[in-house]
Every structure is written in C-alpha cells, then in structure tokens.
Amino acid sequence: MAIIQPIAAELEPHPDVALIERVRAGDVAAYDALVRKYERQVFRISQHITQNREDAEDAMQDAFLKAYEKLDQFQGNSKFYTWLVRIAVNESLMRLRKRRTGKMVSIDEDIATEEGSVPRDLADWAPDPEQNYSQEELAGILERAWKGLPKGFRVVFELRDVQGLSTEDTAEALGLSIPAVKSRLLRARLQLRERLSRYFRRNKGSERNETRRIRK
C-alpha cells in the first residue's frame, strides 16, 4: 500500500485540468476561476522582472489574455501554471525591452556578479529576529535586500522558495536548465541571507546585558 499510494496520487488529474476542459468548451467562468487562482503569483513575477508597477499590471493582464487565446496550444503535458508563468515571463521581458527602447534584455543579464557566493557574515541571528522590527521596518528591510538581488535570481527564488514550484517546473517556466536553476537558487538564498544578516544578527551587547539582568 505504501508503494501504491504515491503512484495513485500521481495519476490524479490536477484540479486545473477540469477547469481547462470547461474553458475549452466555452465556459468563461472557468477561466475566471483560473485567473483568480493565479493572478497574485503572476503579478509578483511580472513585478520582479519589470520593477515597474504599471508594466507589471500590463504584463499580467496580457499574459492571462494570451494564455486564454492560446489555450488550444496548451498540451497538458506540463502544468497549466508552469505554462502560464512562461508566458508571463516573456510578456514582462517585452515590457522591459520597450522601456529600454528596444535594447535586448534577458532574465539573466545581471547575474555576472559573484557577490554572496561565499558566506561572509557568520554571526548567528537573534531568535525570531524579525520581531525586533515593526511591520513597516521589516517590510523595508526585506524589500531593500530583495532589490539588491539580480532579477535572474529573484525570479528563481520567488518560484522555488516562495511559490514552492519544483526545480524542474521552475526550469521549464523560465526556459533555463536544471543546473542553472540550482546554481541561481543557491546564490539567491546566500545573497539574501547575507543582506538580512546585517539586521538580524544577534546583538552581543544586548545579550551581555540580558545575562547581567538574569544574574541579578
């Protein structure tokens, strides 16, 4: 049973498959359900790439419209969301290109830096370090660290670690090889860790004070 169960689970059709069948039969409301399900994630990917709210909105909108138009071309041998992300990435890169007056842009244009590949800050962090900051301060810290990351890393981290896609699906969605996804993910994780460490590292001074307090 222990062996049979996972195999049976793999054969279960993805819930999107039924929705896609309904859309193909002309049910627009079924597409409505798909839009609602994925709009937030798609917007975030577009925002990560374009770094511009207006462009991200347009790219997201056009990605959903294009996916609707091209649904007949969707083979079903990849997941709908992976396919949708690929369209959204292309739409976002197109917006970026327009803004840069036709200059070629790609998702990995700014990843030449080796920064953060080797961890430098080896100090331990305070327990639950985010609780030492207000929600606003924390949002600022997370955004600053995030913006310092090359966008080719941001998108990989977003898909793998935030949205929970597999390495294979991330590679397919971004048109990258599996080793490229793995290498970018490691560097993204390490660079973000390094940047957050400046704020979250354990403050030795306050630790000493705390010890003194306990001794009293």
């Binding site: 937030r40 909108q61 080896l122 935030v162 490691l186 973000l192």
Partner: protein
Amino acid sequence: MTCKEFLGLLDDLIDGAVSAEMRTELDAHLGRCGHCEVILNTTRKTIEIYRSHEVYELPTGLRERLHAAIMARCKKGC
C-alpha cells in the same frame, strides 16, 4: 567533509533531497562546524521570512480592476 563541500549540498539539505547516508555525513560536519550550522539555520530562516512576508502585495482594488479588464476582454473573444 569540508565547508565548501557542505555549501555545495546546502540547497539539497534544505530541500530534503539528500540520501540518508549523505545526511549522516552532513550532520557529522554540522556537529563539528559552528559556522556551517549558522549558515544552514539562517538560510532556512531567510526562506521562511520571505515565504511569510510578501514583498509585492496586490491591493484589493487593483486586483478587482485587473480582473474585470481581463474578463471583459475575454468575453469579447479576446
């Protein structure tokens, strides 16, 4: 195992993609190396923080507006 080798397997360790045998080797290294233990714990925490705090949130009004635009165009046959 050296720290460099540990770092090369950090992602697999975090993602639970290492064999039991490799896991034992990694644990043995962690038992000896405080720096790698810090790197592992703080990297895990980094992922957890970004997973629970959205960097770009879509305001409700904007979501509804985009949603309406998409549906209106789709109903016209895109």
